[in-house]
Amino acid sequence: MTTTIPAKVSQNHLGRGYHGGMRDLDRTLRLIIYEHFGRTGSTPSLETIATRGQCSRPEVETSLARLEAEHHALALAPTTRNVWMAHPFSAVPSPFPVETASVTYWGNCAWDAVAIPSLLSLDASVPARCAESGAEMNLAFRNGSIVDNTAPNGVVHFVVPPRRFWDNIGYT
């Protein structure tokens, strides 16, 4: 199956205008980050974002801060200000790997992990473990369906209500 990720970021998105409540630069950089995550499973460096976005490093840092604070479009690492989460993708390994034929992705949580195969239209396996018991919970996704679930009675536990997701996104 093919992904739905744009093959490249179009020049049409490199403007400096303001549409739909977001600056064009923010929209462009967000798309660059997601394209990179979808292709590689990892976040691009701030330098790569600047190069692909045809802007300066300070502009990247300001734009990413806006994307986090104003739009909740991604979350930045508290100290480095690198991209930490572009939901459902995690920039750092987590207990929720999503393994495809060519790339391993990381979900921020169980919910994010099961969302990644659909988002990318990819077949994938999610070898997770129960957060409470440690028991294996292996899921397999093929052609847009769950085809295997070793824990048919397993649940995904939301601790934080949606209206509080961004109060502390790391905890959420």
Partner: protein
């Protein structure tokens, strides 16, 4: 929630994430997504 519900919720929640047109979800959109997968009640109240 069952894993199948989380999977359905994820499909709806993230379906526009890779598009250039993505914008933050409105309260109404969030509520509609939760209701579409049967998530109602105080915990899922969005404001």
């Amino acid at each position: 929630m069952p894993i199948s519900t989380a999977w359905e919720l994820g499909k709806l929640w993230y379906q526009d994430r890779l598009t250039p047109e993505w914008t933050p979800k409105t309260t109404e959109t969030m509520r509609a997504i939760f209701e579409a997968v049967g998530l109602t009640g105080e915990f899922w109240r969005v404001h």
